[in-house]
């Protein structure tokens, strides 16, 4: 490798660690000082249990990871809120010193994962686009849709860590052990690791087309590791519960029967948008459609080094949309999309590309409009996240 490139890359990498840490700390500080008072005021509580209050260290589903860590899994389909959640984060909470409160342990894990995730996302963004990205762009990630989740206790950002490392290990053709390891860890963190399977499939096809054995090997390794570990975990749950099918039975609680038809999501969304007087419901259904769509439109507007990078991100977004339609469930799209490495990468690249276009005065009115629209869109999704978390708008 060219020494100049190597040195520049090392410099960028060191700076990216610095900015990742800075972003995480700034986000954590903003969460404690700004979000926490707002959420306390608005009564942030356990989902479907308004009487049990929680704080920023375990909002939304965080409490269920903490419960699994403290009380262990309840191996029965009657306790879907235990079985829905994969074990790695709960195990990590259990491994840390018990002298620290479990919710704080979750928060510490999330913050650590945030710093690593930001570095991983930056490492992923660099090779996929010809645009030069500076590490200080990481400071903008909390402003992107779902970015504020960085400062809270959650399992999405740990999943993002492993998803990002998985995709980086594929495109940079690292040792095959690494995509296997990241795939295993990703699926043990959250089921959202499945969003990586379409992306890896794209790289596999690209590798076959170009006769790139390493690309094929690493992408297949990632897919197979995710599949095997998922099946293993499902069987593990079923064995512990003493009944085959327990895992999927617990999952069915969150599904609408497919017999409703694959278009019933759009029908339900239309009914909610027209009939519902609850703004939260309307925003939930709107965001489940708008956020992936906007990402797809941004995808077309920015340059990529190779088309397979674009198609891989598109495949992940289509996977997200497909699951939303299949499950007929718009819940938590704004946080689930953060588990796709391409989501934050697209945001960063689009911001730089937009500024470049404006500087060059190329199609100035269009890019000005695009930039302003994107800014407004990020602001609105930020407000949606801040208010929607305590008011249960998106779950």
């Amino acid at each position: 490798m060219d020494l100049r490139k190597q040195l520049r890359r090392n410099g960028d990498f060191s700076l990216s660690i610095f900015y990742a840490l800075a972003t995480t700390l700034l986000c954590a500080g903003a969460t404690v000082l700004i979000l926490n008072p707002i959420w306390s005021q608005l009564g942030l509580h356990v989902p479907e249990d308004p009487k049990t209050k929680v704080d920023f260290t375990m909002p939304v589903d965080g409490i269920f990871y903490v419960r699994n860590a403290e009380l262990g899994y309840r191996w029965s389909a009657e306790y879907p809120q235990s079985l829905w959640f994969h074990p790695l984060v709960a195990w990590a909470i259990g491994v840390l010193p018990r002298s620290i409160a479990a919710n704080l342990r979750l928060w510490a894990i999330s913050l650590t994962a945030s710093a690593i995730a930001l570095v991983a996302v930056f490492r992923y963004s660099g090779p996929i686009t010809p645009i030069s990205l500076k590490p200080n762009l990481l400071l903008l990630i909390p402003l992107l849709p779902g970015g504020l989740v960085i400062g809270t206790g959650n399992a999405e950002i740990p999943c993002l860590v492993f998803n990002s490392l998985l995709i980086v290990s594929v495109i940079l053709k690292w040792n095959v052990i690494l995509p296997i390891a990241w795939g295993v860890l990703a699926i043990l963190t959250k089921l959202n690791a499945l969003y990586m399977v379409p992306a890896l499939a794209v790289y596999c096809v690209a590798g076959l087309t170009k006769k790139d054995r390493k690309l094929v090997r690493n992408s297949l390794a990632g897919i197979i590791s995710i599949a095997i570990v998922l099946v293993s975990w499902v069987l593990f749950v079923d064995l512990n519960s003493g009944q085959l099918g327990t895992y999927w039975q617990a999952r069915e609680v969150g599904l609408v029967p497919l017999s409703s038809g694959p278009f019933s999501f759009l029908d339900t969304a239309a009914r909610v948008l027209i009939f519902s007087d609850q703004i939260g419901e309307r925003l939930k259904y709107s965001s489940a459609l708008i956020i992936p769509l906007v990402d797809m439109w941004i995808l077309l507007a920015i340059p990529f080094e190779k088309e397979e990078h674009r198609v891989a991100i598109l495949a992940s977004l289509l996977g997200l949309l497909f699951l939303t339609f299949f499950q007929n469930n718009p819940n938590k799209s704004i946080v689930y999309i953060t588990t796709i490495p391409g989501h934050f990468a697209l945001g960063m690249i689009f911001i730089v590309h937009c500024f470049n276009k404006l500087r060059q005065r190329e199609h100035f009115p269009i890019w000005l409009m695009a930039g302003i629209s994107f800014g407004v869109y990020c602001f609105m999704t930020g407000v949606f996240f801040v208010l929607g978390t305590p008011l249960a708008w998106y779950y």
């Binding site: 645009i131 278009f263 759009l266 029908d267 009939f275 007087d277 769509l293 439109w297 990529f304 949309l321």
Partner: protein, 319 residues
């Protein structure tokens, strides 16, 4: 076809998406402004939208591209070092994104229009007159609001005629027991109203014409279709002949868009059935009161506009 830059292709996509947004918005506005328009017109608008957008997708897929030449979108050190062409977006990627965008935007537009059409008020008018083989309480209690397959926002009202509940007598004995109220509240209000009524022996005439005219005045200026359900056990000619044209005139006067559904319960002569069928938008004959809940449920699933279309195609009401 002249090859174009990636920006032009992005513009083409944005145009197609904007086009689909505008046409879907038009579809929704059409549904609000003219909800009784037959579904075929809405389908035509959607069909034109889809055809136009598929045409754009076809253009994107088939247009020729210039040979790859080094073009630098952004002058960066890395690009200068490499000096090679950057990857242009693949036409299939554009087509997939366009297809998904069209599917979602047009789908929401089409379903929104359908959902708007379904919005209605259900106003029940129940016969409490003398000589009725089935009592008012037996009829009213079989309106199972909890199982109605309508959205919870649907407003439900209840009126009774001929039961001696109003200050009037004879054909003018009509009273609104429950004003149109959202479904959840209506359940309680109707239950309370029935509990308060002291109905042991019905009295008064079965004045369907006057009861309907009274209902239209109560429903004046309300938005969406007012679905008037009349549960009656016989046709009482003491209050005169049924006059649908007069009903239409009063509806127009009171700015009410309505649909009349008449359910007769018990033995009714064929001649009376014909008269009622001609008077009503929908006429259903129930042999016993036990059939009422199923009939109401089944008929509720058919939104008013579909029945409008059915009537326009197969024959209109009127003597």
């Amino acid at each position: 076809m002249k090859p174009s830059s990636s920006t032009e292709l992005v513009l083409a996509i944005l145009t197609s998406v904007l086009g689909s947004v505008l046409i879907s918005a038009g579809n929704v506005i059409l549904g609000i402004a003219a909800p009784t328009l037959p579904k075929s017109d809405g389908d035509l608008a959607s069909g034109v939208a889809i055809a136009f957008l598929l045409f754009v997708v076809y253009i994107l897929i088939t247009r020729r591209r210039a040979p790859q030449e080094p073009r630098l979108l952004v002058v960066t050190r890395r690009n200068l070092d490499r000096g090679q062409a950057l990857a242009k977006p693949n036409r299939w990627t554009y087509a997939i994104v366009a297809g998904v965008s069209i599917f979602i935007i047009v789908g929401i537009g089409v379903y929104s229009r359908w959902v708007l059409i379904e919005r209605r008020t259900m106003y029940f008018i129940v016969d409490a007159s003398e000589g009725s083989p089935t009592t008012f309480r037996e009829l009213a209690s079989r309106i199972k609001i909890t199982t109605l397959p309508v959205p919870p926002e649907t407003e439900i009202g209840l009126e009774a005629f001929g039961g001696g509940y109003s200050a009037n007598s004879g054909c003018d004995d009509v009273v609104e027991l429950v004003a149109p109220t959202p479904k959840a509240e209506a359940i309680e209000k109707i239950s309370d109203a029935l509990a308060l009524l002291d109905q042991d022996s019905p009295k008064g005439f079965s004045g369907i014409q006057h009861a309907t005219e009274y209902a239209l005045k109560q429903l004046a200026n309300r938005r969406d279709t007012q679905q008037i359900w009349i549960l009656v056990t016989r046709l009482d000619t003491r209050c005169g002949e049924l006059d649908r044209n007069e009903i239409d005139r009063i509806a127009a006067e009171n700015n009410v868009k309505y649909e009349l559904v008449i359910i007769t319960v018990g033995p009714v002569s064929e001649a009376d059935q014909r008269v009622l069928s001609a008077f009503a938008g929908r006429y259903i004959y129930a042999q016993t009161a036990d059939e009422i809940p199923i009939i109401i449920q089944q008929q509720s699933r058919i939104p008013p506009v579909l029945y409008d279309l059915y009537r326009k195609v197969y024959g209109s009401y009127g003597p």
